[in-house]
């Protein structure tokens, strides 16, 4: 019996050693050893910028095959579903929980910080954020904006009207531009413009001008806001093609061009040049000598020939090798850049602004400069460029719409947005078979979980904007 008592006491003592009411001290065992606990501002900024160029859908912003199909630059090979709008719901959560959250963290870290690069870092993060959100509102229309990125504090962010998103973004851009200090150190981790703050002034103004012009049909409703914003920005936008703002892909396989991955690494031939753009650029030339000299830069002739042949948009084109592909300089070149903003685009914008009566000058001169900058961008030789420009009869807005569409080749989302606003060649027509919608898409539908997990706000957005499908026209397109 005595033995038992001794043992009992011993066990009881061991037990007591770990009893401490509600908790036991485990030290720092639950501190995650796999990731740092302090926010690395530079790494977060870089990551949010890499997201702009990252493959693949739905994240791809500057390199999206879906958007290039909407614009009918491309056609599908054997599998035509993508060109028939198979994708309905597009997940934007990857932007909020990804780059936008990372940028918010950068802004939080630098707000109130005495670091010398604080204001410039906040400005760069804000401009990057504005660029991403602008691309988003042009895809979905109403988007969560004013109540976002608060984690568990607000589990059901409301959808803001596109008008409010645009106005909010104008404010953000203006604030950011006001913060830029050319004498202060630039942010670390800026892989987009390498810390060149003068370039960020161009970036902010170019973005602002693009956004302002997008509201051309709403300028009167907005009391001239679009015109005002456009004119505030236009003096400082990019104007020559060597100023083009681009996303640079690197040679290593983690960071190289997404199309190079598809065509070379994976050997896929799922995208070919569409008949819409090839025939438009052949124009009154021939399929061996197209009217537009850029076609030979955009695309390669059919293998073994010198003819350019586009594949029927919306069809299954099984014999892909009978058609022209995007130039090898892109699909077989891992370091081909992707354009974010181009000088050509901005000259078209200025031509349109003159046509709209927003600014003084000659619309036709800007139109010609736009094509010239586009030719420069693609490395067309001067003589051929001049011949094309001089041979082109300028016909006001229709010419701007058509030639801007040509010049925005590969800039899928921007091109699709402009087509929805000002149109393009009449040959852009919906395919015979559509898996969703009743025409070329006007928007993308919200993530499929949204009606369940954010129902009240989703219903309000649908009630205000129109059905959550591909056909509902956005506010600025009406």
């Amino acid at each position: 019996m005595k033995k038992i008592i001794t043992k009992t006491v011993l066990i009881a003592l061991v037990s007591l050693s770990i009893i401490a009411c509600d908790s036991v001290d485990f030290g720092d065992i639950n501190d995650n050893p796999n990731a740092p606990s302090t926010a690395p501002s530079a790494g977060l900024l870089t990551n949010s910028m890499v997201a702009i160029g990252r493959p693949w859908t739905p994240s791809g912003l500057v390199m999206s095959t879906a958007a290039m199909l909407y614009s009918q630059y491309l056609a599908n090979g054997q599998y035509p579903d993508e060109s028939r709008y198979v994708d309905f719901n597009w997940n934007y959560y990857t932007y909020y929980a990804g780059p936008l959250r990372d940028l918010q963290e950068v802004i939080n870290v630098k707000t109130g910080s005495e670091a010398l690069d604080a204001t410039n870092t906040i400005a760069v993060a804000t401009l990057t954020r504005a660029y991403i959100l602008h691309t988003m509102t042009d895809r979905w229309g109403y988007i969560p904006y004013s109540e976002t990125l608060q984690g568990q504090e607000n589990k059901t962010p409301k959808f803001d009207s596109q008008e409010d998103v645009y106005k909010g973004l104008f404010n953000e851009i203006d604030t950011a531009l006001g913060m830029i200090d050319l004498t202060a150190p630039s942010p670390k981790g800026d892989i987009l413009l390498n810390g060149n703050m003068a370039r960020w002034i161009q970036f902010g103004n170019t973005l602002k001008a693009v956004m302002a012009l997008r509201l051309s049909k709403r300028d009167v409703d907005l009391g001239g806001l679009a015109k005002t914003k456009f004119n505030e920005a236009i003096e400082n936008v990019i104007t020559t093609s060597n100023e083009n703002i681009k996303y640079t892909y690197l040679s290593d396989d983690n960071n190289d061009h997404p199309l190079q991955d598809r065509f070379v690494d994976e050997g896929r031939k799922d995208w070919i040049m569409s008949d819409v753009i090839v025939n438009y650029m052949i124009g009154n030339g021939s399929n061996t000598a197209p009217q537009d000299p850029r076609l030979a830069k955009y695309a390669d002739p059919v293998v073994g020939t010198n003819t350019f042949i586009g594949a029927e948009y919306g069809s299954g084109n099984d014999l892909v090798d009978n058609f022209s592909f995007i130039t090898k300089n892109i699909i077989e070149n891992g370091t081909a850049p992707a354009m974010i903003f181009t000088a050509a685009q901005m000259h078209f914008s200025m031509a349109e602004a003159v046509e709209l009566g927003w600014m003084a000058g000659s619309a036709q001169d800007h139109f010609k400069m736009a094509i010239q900058e586009s030719m420069n961008q693609w490395g067309v030789d001067a003589g051929a460029a001049t011949a094309f420009i001089n041979g082109y009869t300028y016909n006001g807005m229709q010419s701007i719409a058509e030639q801007k569409w040509v010049a925005l080749f590969m800039q899928g989302y921007e091109s699709w947005a402009e087509w929805r606003r000002i149109g393009g060649p009449a040959t852009i027509q919906p395919p015979a078979i559509m898996l969703n919608g009743t025409g070329v898409p006007q928007r993308q539908a919200y993530p499929s979980t949204t009606p369940s997990i954010n129902k009240v706000n989703y219903d309000a957005a649908v009630a205000a904007q129109g059905p959550d499908d591909l056909d509902t026209k956005l506010w600025w397109a009406k």
Binding site: T8, I11, A12, I18, I19, D22, S23, V24, F26, I29, N30, N32, P33, A35, P36, S37, T38, A39, P40, A42, G43, L44, T46, V50, R84, Y92, Y93, T94, Y96, A97, G98, D102, Q104, E105, P144, T148, L149, Q150, G151, Q152, N154, K155, T156, P157, G189, I191, L250, S251, D252, D253, N254, N255, I433, L435, S448, T449, P451, I453, N454, K455
Partner: protein, 540 residues
């Protein structure tokens, strides 16, 4: 690398006093778990043909390290009192601590109390009731969070050139996260009749999950896609019945049979503040839980129907559909099993069955099979007697792929679709099966939500027991040699060729609410193998 160190100490005590028996124990348990993974991956291929090494990666290789360390401590005490081997009362008290819960509140106390009463001891010996026992019990079990959910960290990602990249994880942190409990109340009765020839065991349970760390999905526009929460509450109720009997028993022959049923009703009482719907799993359709409803609902695209339930066809003869509709619950009405065995002299033959009634699952084999034109439903003759794959012909706006049956040529191919038009008038079309399956039905999840009801003969075994005389000089007391087969016969299932009891579509990493892996998708898996073999059992 996965290592676990455990210290377990227990002290037992037992003593009888007259008609009473006592036993008690107390102990401690300390557990330290370390898990480590190093994953390296070449990028852009390798540079040295035939030589496999991370060192030959063309571009900078990807490197991934994961270390997980958790520690648990617990102490406990249990006690049992028995009276005349007729009444038993057992109680326990246990306190668990985990390193994964918030530092100032990392314990969970769990208690249990159960009693049983063998009332047949009070009844005089008889030929009818040979054994009777009542039992009731209450038990709690602790559940702790997964590690590293309390404080913010920043995940390093692949570098861009020489610039490092980091991201804020998609899962939000919750500094308040602690452990929770499953509480279960259970009542049961166990009866045996006619010299144990017939037995009945009935159990009713009422279970509540409280504060168990569960993942809550919230809109990504919050900046996170979800977080672990203690707020959830769920209730489980059900009963289990087991019947067993020996209908025939002679010196040479006996027949034993047993069968059991179980039901489960699982209700979602609370998810989290401001959260009424939680996405548990998503793959085309979604598996959801909604407050106040039965857990485990499938939501997705459903046929558009009129007030009378007729499918609505568009003017091109294709089925119209609506999104985000309730398509059924994955929970069955009941599940069960049965086994029976026959013994004749030294031979024995046993069968094992299992079954489920009700519950749904989403299956893609048929979806993709018909999409690709490999399914048998995409061939055959249509009502006009023409092969469905022949060209559709007739008049109408969509005659390229679809004609109204009344406008179809006598030679038209195409597959029949039937339903009503927008105003409710019945109509039938012949539609090109390629367009029907590939462009239309593919999008309608309801078409591929199947009833999970099945009956299956899972096992058969035929055995022979060696006569004892052969064993006299050996060390064995019994040797039985047999032939067996597993996965023998799917007697009934809704979807031909798919076995609802073997779904494995979403198994990987898809533990839902930290508790059980519910299968709800058939993802084109291979039919599971039937095994036939021989075995021998040696008993010493």
């Amino acid at each position: 690398m996965d290592t676990k160190n455990e210290i377990f100490g227990v002290l037992n005590y037992s003593q009888d006093f007259n008609d009473f028996s006592f036993s008690a124990s107390t102990g401690v348990q300390i557990e330290d778990r370390n898990f480590e993974i190093v994953l390296d991956q070449t990028v852009g291929g390798m540079t040295t043909p035939g030589f496999y090494s991370i060192g030959t990666s063309k571009d900078r290789p990807n490197n991934f390290n994961l270390k997980v360390n958790t520690e648990n401590k617990a102490w406990f005490a249990t006690g049992t009192v028995g009276y005349k081997e007729m009444f038993f009362l057992e109680g326990s008290y246990r306190m668990d601590y985990s390193s994964t819960a918030r530092k100032d509140l990392n314990s969970v106390i769990t208690k249990a109390l159960s009693g049983s009463f063998i009332f047949s001891k009070l009844i005089p010996q008889n030929d009818i009731l040979s054994f009777g026992k009542l039992r009731a019990g209450y038990a709690e079990a602790p559940f702790f969070p997964i590690p590293y959910q309390l404080s913010q960290t920043y995940t390093p990602r692949n570098p861009y050139g020489s610039s490092g990249t980091s991201t804020v994880p998609d899962t939000g942190v919750n500094p308040e996260l602690e452990g929770g409990q499953r509480k279960e109340l259970e009542y049961g009765i166990e009866l045996k009749f006619i010299k144990n020839r017939l037995g009945l065991d009935f159990t009713y349970f009422d279970r509540k999950d409280e504060k168990i760390p569960s993942f809550v999905t919230i809109p990504g526009s919050t900046g996170i896609t979800g977080y672990w929460s203690n707020e959830g509450k769920q209730s489980f109720k059900g009963f289990e019945i087991a019947l067993s009997g020996t209908p025939i028993k002679t010196d040479d022959f006996s027949w034993d049979i047993s069968i059991n049923f179980a039901t489960l009703k699982r209700t979602v009482d609370f998810i989290a503040e401001d959260v009424d719907v939680n996405i548990l799993s998503s793959w085309g359709p979604q598996l959801q839980e909604r407050v106040g409803e039965e857990w485990g609902a499938i939501y997705g695209n459903a046929f558009k129907r009129d007030d009378k339930g007729n499918k609505v066809l568009g003017d091109d003869g294709l089925y119209e559909y609506e999104r985000n509709k309730y398509l059924g619950s994955i929970l069955p009405d009941f599940t069960g099993g049965a086994s029976t065995s026959f013994t004749y002299k030294n031979f024995d033959l046993a069968f094992g069955f299992d079954f489920q009634y009700g519950g749904k699952f989403y299956g893609v084999s048929r979806r993709y099979g018909n999409y690709a034109g490999l399914g048998s439903e995409t061939v055959g003759n249509n009502r006009l007697g023409n092969p469905v794959r022949n060209a559709v012909s007739g008049s109408g706006t969509h005659a390229a792929y679809s004609v109204n049956l009344t406008n179809a040529d006598a030679t038209s191919g195409g597959q029949l679709t039937s339903g009503v038009d927008a105003s409710g008038n019945p109509q039938e079309f012949l539609v090109n099966p390629f367009v029907l399956w590939r462009n239309n039905l593919r999008n309608i999840h309801e078409e591929y939500v199947n009833d999970a009801t099945y009956i299956k003969l899972r096992t058969i075994r035929f055995g022979y027991k060696l006569p004892t005389k052969f064993l006299e000089k050996t060390a064995f007391s019994d040797i039985n040699i047999g032939v067996f087969a597993n996965n023998v016969w799917l007697i009934k299932s809704d979807l031909k060729g798919v076995d609802p009891s073997e779904l494995e579509g979403r198994r990987a990493g898809n533990e839902i609410n930290g508790i059980k892996n519910y299968e709800w998708i058939e993802n084109g898996q291979l039919p599971n193998a039937r095994t036939i073999g021989i075995n021998a059992r040696f008993t010493f």
